[in-house]
Symmetry: C2
Subunit: 407 residues, 2 copies
């Protein structure tokens, strides 16, 4: 199955550059290729696939300190650190959380993140070449969160890790973590389920579908066949702008921008340029995104989110979580209106009802869905504290940690 | 100033067709043309303009029973009744509220609604012909809610009505009603302010701007010059789909659609057609809308909403409402996350602080922003009750009604 993988250890320290203390420093994207067919939830299969991934910290001798981080819709394998020594390079998307002494302490843990199947940052997706040497485009099969997890399982096998100390992610990342615990219960030591839902709601599907329609409506999209021409940047930017609003709260938008005008003292009354600061901000978010993301991948990954309903696969949510064998930390945020506390509590209640060990933390935070990325100090306390608790339990007994249920 | 107006009374009754009881029956769109320049908030002016309007009920002898209804973003002058005898014709957009015995009882009141300036349903807007005989398109000046109200004031003059018994609307309609009370206090007997805000928030602007970007991104938009070719239907449909989500609550979407599939028992895993019922519903909403609405009008009206901040015009919200001379009914809905109760309370508190008579009703309702249209029975009770209260007060003294403040 395994074809090749770059196994050089990722440098962690002693990088002489002006990055913040606690950084994992210079890191490198690695690739794992698999040439056996991957059976997919849709009934179709992929003849072969590649996962791009990064790792931080060092795997210990008994291979028991691995934490897998699963990324959300627009994320990638580059969680922390830097790819170059360019002074103004931004670090990975969750650099605040991964590094020496951080929430996921790389002095203790070996952290892995791979780009999802269907993605566009090195893993096989619609922009990859099909066996005929041309980009898959829409010939790429629709994938599910369970398919993403199947692919990650191959990566874990290849890395020689049987059991994860823990698996985590926010949003779609948490969906993958939950799917792991249901599909491979013996391989998951704990799930840290952040700002997510066990089931995409009608509103999730509605927003995702509107984003997809924005892409479809861009003539450059051309039925998905645009890889030899201009990309459907206009449609993708609109999708991203809309999604970005859903990641923030009304209050955080108000606090950050209010009704401030963009670089002016009086309204110009024009369509020609942004009048309000929030318009300029959104436009910037859209422009940045289209430079790094493939529109077809956006279609595939939003579909995977829409399909996610772990209970439906097993008849009920309780029946699904009855398969799990590990403790859960479930975290929701008061201002997150995309993945609401009510949705997180559906999972908490199903876990409780099946006597699964669960700790639930509802954090009062103003930043909407993005709180899981923005509330660094509180997340470090909650997640770091939970990992310390798991470590103590595991040091003591090697057994399951007990139930702690906190509302 | 006045040029012409069709003054034939609107037929109210005795229409032999299978419409529901309580209907105003067959009604007719009328037009008022004004050929003196209208000075606009932007500093520009319109050389002449037309307002399309409808009326229901009969103006009484002392012209004291007129209620003006102001419509929201996608509304028009056709509030109630039918334009034809076609059996499957749908009635006006607030037919539930206007008619004999209804919330706005046409046995008692003379109800007026005009299409806003900048609109596309008969009033002058970007799709109208400029003096050079070609459509204005983006040569049409940006308009504000205050400009819309100025135009309506001309209509009221022309109808020979000095003072409105009350003025009302939901969403942008309520903005106009508030603007009326501030700009023409002697002409407004009461304001019924429904599901709205005295000030568009950063989130409102963000959603509106994303909708505009969807239109700009449609190549058929062509800088607004599309009136001799295909309209930017794809972009406008995306804008509408997104907006439609904001009009509903997560719960109402969940209740109405959940994760139901569209006309099938199993997921087909395809982009080619709607998979979930909510996708089909949104797509239908988008398609319907582009058949009746002009994309440039959508741009102009969303801008007017974004500009709305009645406090900013006067230094503060308190200073603005200190100009008013009438009682207010303010209504918010628990599940309305677009125009939140908190925003409505900003107005209530400013009114209280300046000793303006205000009654505030916060209604627990699951339908999101659309609650003001959907919660017919409760709205009839609240609004009808308030109008009855106003009537009693006005019969007794002709003076201001007292303060009733209900949380």
């Amino acid at each position: 199955m395994f074809v090749s993988v770059e196994t050089a250890p990722t440098p962690q320290t002693a990088v002489s550059r002006p990055h913040q203390p606690g950084s994992v420093g210079l890191v490198r994207r690695q690739y794992a290729h698999f040439d056996t067919p991957l059976q997919l939830g849709s009934g179709r299969s992929l003849p072969s696939f590649t996962l791009a991934y990064e790792t931080y910290g060092r795997l210990n001798a008994d291979r028991s300190n691995a934490i897998m981080i699963c990324h959300a819709l627009s994320g990638d394998a580059h969680v922390a650190g830097y790819h170059t020594t360019t002074p103004d390079e931004k670090p990975g998307w969750w650099d605040d959380a991964v590094g020496p002494g951080k929430m996921f302490d790389t002095n203790r843990f070996f952290v892995i993140c791979s780009n999802v199947l269907g993605g566009c940052q090195g893993s096989t997706g619609p922009s990859s070449l099909a066996p005929d040497g041309k980009p898959y485009a829409l010939r790429f099969p629709l994938v599910t969160v369970a398919d993403m997890v199947q692919a990650q399982r191959h990566l874990l096998d290849q890395l020689g890790i049987h059991r994860l100390f823990a698996i985590t992610g926010g949003s779609m990342g948490a969906m993958q973590a939950l799917q792991w615990a249901v599909d491979f219960p013996e391989r998951v030591g704990a799930v840290l389920f952040l700002a997510s839902s066990p089931r995409s709601s009608a509103q999730h599907i509605a927003f995702n579908e509107t984003g997809r329609q924005a892409i479809y409506a861009d003539p450059n999209w051309n039925g998905g066949n645009y890889y030899d021409g201009p990309a459907p940047a206009g449609g993708l930017a609109v999708a991203r702008m809309m999604a970005h609003i859903t990641y923030m709260s009304e209050h955080s938008l108000e606090h950050k921008f209010g009704r401030n005008l963009q670089d002016r003292d009086a309204l110009p009354y024009t369509f020609a340029e942004p009048e309000f600061a929030v318009e300029s901000y959104l436009s910037h978010q859209g422009s940045k995104f289209v430079q790094r993301f493939d529109a077809n991948s956006y279609l595939y990954i939003t579909k995977a989110i829409d399909y996610f309903d772990i209970g439906a696969e097993h008849g009920s949510l309780k029946a699904a979580v009855a398969h799990t064998q590990c403790p859960f930390l479930v975290v929701s945020f008061s201002s997150d209106w995309l993945y609401t506390a009510e949705q997180a509590r559906m999972l908490v209640e199903a876990l409780e009802a099946t006597n699964c060990p669960v700790e639930y933390q509802h954090i009062d935070a103003p930043f909407g869905h993005d709180s899981f990325l923005v509330e660094v100090d509180r997340m470090t306390s909650v997640v770091g504290g939970y990992l310390a608790h798991l470590t103590r339990q595991s040091d003591r007994s090697g057994a399951r940690v007990g139930v702690r249920y906190v509302r």
